[in-house]
Amino acid sequence: MKGDFFWVGAMATILKRISFDKDLIPLVHDFDCAPEYPPTFWEEEINEWIRLDPSAKDGALYYLAKGTEVWLYANEDDDIVGYGSLCNSNWPDPAVVQQVPKLKRVPISLIPAVGIDRRFQGGPEGAETAERYSTKIMNHLVFAARRHTDRQSFLGLYVHPANEKAIKLYRRMQFGPFTQKYRHEKAGVDYVSMILRLADYPFQSEA
């Protein structure tokens, strides 16, 4: 066989999901999405959000009880690569509907928090863009949002305007700029928003 060449196709990334609950807190005890020290404001926020005690009236466990969906993502070695979440917007409010009557009176889906542990950012090593953990996680959130046929077919998110790395990822995932802003009092800045049109979900109900 010496001298022969074998073409080996790029390996498909193995990433699995699990719905987050309080039993899984030990898995995110060391979650850290900050590649450098000190972490940025938004990195610290994402690190805290997933393990925050619900008595703080914020964080994954608090919002889980209010209907937000949260997933952890694990690779083939059962390491936690990252997490993602999905909720519905508080829109539209009646005053806006009065001014914009064509607006559908159902909410859209929002990603309140998503993060990848620093050890796995840009990974797996050598993976094509479509096979990166970041792409896989975002694609899962898109898929999960599509299943909410009670909402408008849009997925939105807010991002710190200086979080260029995340904005680049969202652009790559075809999110476009959205006029909505969110004043983050603690950060002291307006978070910008981005939006993605979702394809209609093909099934009426889950088997």
Binding site: K16, R17, P26, K66, N88, S89, V96, V100, F143, Q180
Partner: protein
């Protein structure tokens, strides 16, 4: 009518969704919804992880 009433009683979820939608954003949402040429994402589901296996691994790491 029943549908409209249901829509009026939407759950008010906080997180970043707590902010009211601005009129400009509402108008943009209508435009986007009517734009048939806009890319529509399909996404992709992922297989389920084994909860017990994940917990066993972290427990093992913590005893080392």
């Amino acid at each position: 009518m029943e549908e409209a009433m249901k829509e009026e009683k939407l759950p008010l979820l906080a997180a970043y969704g707590d902010k009211a939608l601005s009129v400009e954003a509402a108008e943009q949402l209508v435009r986007l919804a009517e734009d048939a040429t806009l890319h529509a994402a399909t996404g992709e589901d992922l297989p389920m992880a084994d909860k017990e296996k994940l917990l066993r691994k972290v427990a093992l790491q913590n005893t080392r």
